[in-house]
Amino acid sequence: MEARPAVSVQSVVASQLSNCGASLSSSLPMYPTSLGEKYPKFPDLQQASTEKELKQYPGTVVSSLPSSSGAVGLMFSSSSGFSADLHFSSVPPQEKHSGPAPFNSQSTNSETSIQLPHSGVLQSTASSQYLIENNEPWCIDPLPNFLDPFPVQNSQVACSNKQSDWQEWADLVINDEDALASNWNDIMADTSIADSEPKEEKQPLNFPMQQVQASQQIPAVSVETSVIAPSSSAASGAATKQRMRWTPELHEAFVEAVNKLGGSERATPKGVLKLMKVEGLTIYHVKSHLQKYRTARYKPEASDGGSSEQKQSSIDDLSSLDLKTGIEITEALRLQMEVQKRLHEQLEIQRNLQLRIEEQGRYLQQMFEKQCKSMPGVDLAKGSSSTADDAFAQLSDGVQNSSGKNDPGVSQIDTAKEVDEKRKGREREVPGDPETNITSTSDSPPSKRSKLDE
């Protein structure tokens, strides 16, 4: 059973490769073993969702796997393999920066379906170093897309640029496992440019400073995501535009290193890089950061603010300020601060609301799916909508009522109970798109709103 998907994948890969004329024959022999050991659970998902989803959404990977809650998680979290559904739910609230993978897969899936060689190659050597569950979900992403012929046109173009890169990766992968982490970064540096998929590289750089416990996952994540990224970039070469997410702690280390080397003018990127000893940090990161640092320091003390226009207005302000008393200026600044603080406060509230709304939606969706599974023959998407509507109405009402107090406290338990009761008492309808089916709920919000307006 495990051999089947491996074989089918391999044959598809082979055909794709022959389309492009790329030669990864040296890597191909690795497939049977790698895929074989990587797909203990794969067939389950494959059977359940791929066939159905391929017909509907051949081009999109994301929407093709909503049926399994764990599967959605696999899109963006390395830790949410099939064997680790729990990880999935724990990632979003903590907001770890450990899951930007999906967008790379999305964009590149539509562009080229030749990612599997990378992922396959990656897995065979990565498996010993990284958690297996990291690799499993990885495989799922590109596979459904394989049977979709339409991206061939794009892949042809992308292909010709990628051959040398693949060879490079393949060689690296075969040779040195220990140096894998650092090599991957070099590869990423070499290839991911024009497309500038910035997300993946930042994790290893964050984590050394922050969360150690996820250290084993991080290289996997960065490696995972980086593999797709290069395949979609058009140019190769030494320059890199991979983006790194700096943190204050990292910046502190940077400043320390710079000071040790005699100041921002004297310090060289290489020296700073060596002193900092941060895993995953490349010289390009340091270079650009150093440049920013120098600019920030040696801008005349006038204004910290952005562009010349901004500066101009602030210089004008300064001269006109001379005409007013210091107290007036201070008070004007205070007013500005008040407004800014208010905006910030509202933004935070809004963001929390948005997070919670989506979280609730997801939670309820999962619950319905679990319930629906025990009732075969019911269309998941449609069947859950009616009761979901009521539950969500409760949610938005609750949110509305509390928004006046600026306290977005919604009780999950109450909503869940509500949902349970309704589910038992209600027969299943088959209405249209759940999103549009709000006629029943739209009555309640306006009435609540008028209460608030009073």
Binding site: Y57, S63, S107, R245, G306, L335, V339, P445
Partner: protein
């Protein structure tokens, strides 16, 4: 088109250099229209539909890449400037402050005034970046909702989950910097007194400080309120309406920057 209009306004008034970093809402809307007009004969299950969706997703991904790149670049700048400001304050205090190496009240006051202005503007810029993040998220959520509605797809829910994880939406660090900035500001500003307030009420030029940023902030607040007013498509994923008590104040201020403000 209400959101589209609001977004356009925000873009027009935004800080220089930020204009083209926002969501291309209009273009995406056009694409959704295009897809939905071709789609009816060949709904889910057809190859063309999958193609259309893939293209849509591809564009969305590009938008998100754009947001991420811009956001992280700004974030990096802010981190650097934040530290520099703190050092600068330290230097000023150490040099011209009462216990400094060359205590000089005039220099001290002058420098402090400059610092105050800079730090308030800096604070404002950071908040505007968070606003940028939020408005783009809102736009994405809206366009996804439109897509699902028009084409009967199921793209919104899973896709938005991924968006929530993106760097441009995880604004915790910037928020933290903003809070730190606020406490720094408190230490640099003298405690408020009534005399100041009455003076300001009578003055003719309130909006003189950081006009660009100030105006942007006001605009952002108003926009937020407008966007969240009830609409015909209000649903379970919509945010509740926003009621800002100082709307009158803010509104009058935004229309006439130079008129006196009634501080409640």
């Amino acid at each position: 088109m209400k959101f589209g209009k609001r977004l356009k306004q925000q873009i027009e008034e935004t800080l220089p250099g930020w204009g083209d970093k926002f969501l291309s809402y209009k273009d995406l809307k056009k694409l959704v229209k295009l897809i939905s007009s071709c789609a009816p004969p060949m709904m889910s299950g057809s190859l063309e539909y999958g193609k259309a969706e893939a293209e849509f997703v591809y564009l969305l991904n590009n938008e998100i890449d754009k947001f991420n790149a811009f956001f992280m670049e700004q974030e990096e700048d802010f981190i650097i400037r934040h530290k520099e400001l703190q050092q600068r304050i330290g230097r000023v205090i150490d040099t011209w402050g009462p216990n400094g190496s060359q205590p000089s009240e005039t220099d001290y006051k002058e420098e402090l005034a400059k610092i105050r202005k800079d730090i308030v503007d800096f604070h404002g810029e950071m908040v505007l970046l968070i606003n940028y993040s939020n408005i783009n998220y809102t736009g994405l959520a809206k366009i996804l909702k439109k897509y699902d509605k028009r084409t009967g797809g199921l793209l919104r829910s899973p896709y938005i989950q991924k968006v929530l994880q993106q760097p441009f939406f995880t604004t915790d660090l910037i928020s933290k910097l903003v809070k730190e900035c606020e406490s720094t500001i408190d230490s640099v500003f003298p405690p408020p007194c009534d005399e100041e307030r009455t003076l300001v009420l009578g003055s003719a030029n309130i909006g003189v400080a950081g006009e660009g940023i100030f105006r942007n902030t006001v605009a952002a607040l108003l926009t937020m309120q407008e966007i969240r007013k009830g609409s015909s498509t209000y649903g379970r994923f919509s945010l509740p309406p926003l009621n800002l008590p100082e709307t009158d104040v803010i509104q009058s201020n935004s229309l006439q920057i130079n008129s006196p403000i009634a501080i409640p």
